[in-house]
Amino acid sequence: MESENINPSFPENDEFEPQWRAHFSAPAIPDEGFSERVLAALPSVENRPIERRRRWFCAVGLVAGVAISALGLIISNDSSPSLPQFVNGGTAAAAQFFSDPVMLALGLTACSLWFAFRDRWRLLPRW
């Protein structure tokens, strides 16, 4: 079907163009209940694949947040060296921030929410 490109320079508009459009134009097909049939056939919002993925991302983010927060609490209560000490220079401040289990959990939640709903951010109005 995807055939050869014989004459790519053929002009888009020629002198016949208005006539072609006038003679080929077809009247619009009346709806006659088609839209209602389509709406009746739509799957519920909850069953849309994107919604299922959202639920998964949020659930995984929640579980990961709780797990890592718990781990952070254990580490901070431990006598072993804390996380920031392993991180050098520029990332030290961030590591310090996220070494707080609550902040870490909040960060994870924000990341998972952003990832789950990333398709919607582009729909927000630009300021």
Binding site: N7, F10, W20, H23, A28, V38
Partner: protein, 178 residues
């Protein structure tokens, strides 16, 4: 409210009413296109059109504003038609090429000419018919046709060129000014 706003409402608020408005706006070109592809089988065309809209609802998040909504829809419709043809092994479009049309001059009135053009169109190769249908019946640009059918732009132009060259004698004989 334009298409983009309706799409945003359908996505953000899960608003089926907004999507219903999109269906009402675009059902005619989609059903026209599928009727063309199915050679006038209106029942099959409407089934495929319904599948097209349901698919678009499920995958609305994948719609990028790089193309128009109708271009995106017709691309889905074309894919559904190809899948249905493969699945059901329905009568494939015959790859017949009739190289020339009868260039006999005619003094037919407009309505007759239109009927003649319809008949003449069926004598073209399927790809030429589809390209002409999208260009002249639906009013899409060459770039949009390329996007809908997944063809290179040059291929679209070639099919349109060939189709028009075959039909041109009919218009020339009808309109002495050209």
């Amino acid at each position: 409210m334009n298409d983009s706003e309706l799409i945003a409402r359908a996505l953000v608020r899960q608003d089926q009413t907004a999507f219903g408005e999109l269906v009402r706006r675009h059902q005619s070109p989609v059903r026209h296109f599928l009727r063309h592809l199915t050679r006038g089988d209106t029942a099959l065309a409407d089934d495929l059109a319904q599948e097209t809209f349901v698919h678009s609802w499920r995958n609305l998040t994948r719609f990028q504003n790089r193309s128009t909504f109708s271009t995106w829809l017709l691309g889905i419709a074309h894919n559904h038609w190809r899948n249905a043809r493969r699945r059901q092994r329905t009568q494939p479009l015959e790859p017949e090429h009739l190289d020339t049309l009868d260039p006999t001059p005619s003094s037919a009135p407009l309505s007759d000419l239109r009927a003649d053009l319809r008949v003449a169109l069926t004598s073209l190769a399927p790809d030429e018919q589809t390209a002409l249908h999208l260009c002249f019946q639906q009013g899409f640009s060459h770039g949009e046709i390329a996007e809908i059918l997944g063809w290179p732009l040059g291929t679209v132009k070639t099919h349109l060129n060939r189709g028009k060259e075959k039909l041109r004698p009919l218009l020339l004989s009808w309109n002495p000014k050209t």
